[in-house]
């Protein structure tokens, strides 16, 4: 029904009175959309990335090394960067206004991120171990370790994930690897991957 001027207060507004596509963001109160009102198949659209190492490199014993996940566009393993928040280079870059160290993720949306990574190391000798450190702003927030190498054919690939809050303005995240074995190398491709996505907004 059309009205001249404002709708009379006693008239109940129906969907027929609302022009298709006319509800704008400004018309919605903050936090007014509930989970029940979302259609099936609707997912968030926060930053998400996946990268892998196509460069690898030697790994010195007893030396905590930043893992060079340098490929975010290839096809060997999942590789993408939906919001340009991952620095896949060996030097600091400014992404979305955030100073982002080498091989680091710097999401520009505040929230809780699920970060996952694995690091393939070949071939650590028997009795040695490989650690990976998940670091937020240079400090370890999660680490894991594996052992069981044989020095010739067994690659160790610590794998893990962590759910972490990132502030969307300055926080960055990177992965480091450490081993007490000598003469080892970081593998490339599917055994050395790094990914993350916004699991829940702040």
């Amino acid at each position: 029904m059309s009205y001249i001027g404002a709708k009379p207060a006693e008239q109940i507004l129906s969907s027929a009175d609302i022009q298709d596509g006319s509800i704008a963001t400004a018309d919605l109160a903050d936090a007014s959309i509930t989970q029940a009102k979302l259609a099936s198949g609707v997912a968030g659209s926060g930053p998400a990335f996946a990268a892998y190492s196509s460069s690898g490199g030697s790994l010195a014993s007893a030396t905590q090394t930043l893992v060079p996940y340098n490929n975010k566009t290839g096809s060997t393993a999942p590789a993408f960067d939906t919001a340009g928040c991952y620095n896949n280079t060996g030097s600091t870059a400014t992404l979305n206004g955030i100073s982002t160290p080498a091989y680091s993720f710097a999401p520009n949306v505040a929230g809780y991120y699920l970060i996952s990574a694995n690091v393939g190391v070949y071939y650590p000798s028997s009795g040695t171990y490989v650690y990976t450190a998940f670091q937020k702003n240079g400090s370890t927030v999660y680490f894991n370790a594996v052992g069981g190498g044989n020095g010739s054919s067994v690659e160790l690939s610590p794998t893990g994930s962590v759910l972490v809050y990132m502030n969307g303005t300055s926080d960055t995240f990177a992965i480091k690897v450490y081993t007490n074995a000598s003469s080892t190398n970081i593998d490339t491709g599917q055994s050395t991957t790094f990914s993350g996505f916004l699991a829940r907004a702040a």
């Binding site: 490199g57 010195a60 014993s61 007893a62 030396t63 905590q64 090394t65 930043l66 893992v67 060079p68 060996g90 030097s91 080498a102 091989y103 650690y131 450190a133 370890t140 680490f143 370790a145 450490y178 007490n180």
Partner: protein, 57 residues
Amino acid sequence: MNLFEKIMALYPELTDADFNPFRNGTILLQNDSDGTGDYIAKWEHPTLPRPTEQELA
């Protein structure tokens, strides 16, 4: 010889535990994968002094 090997040659009494950053090691060697190589990020050993550049050359 890499940095770790040079340090071990200088101080053979050092062990894995001295370097392990996940087990409160007092020495942290680091490589930032930026082409500049390994370096000593932290040296807090209670008795052994940090090697000089000459000793590591």
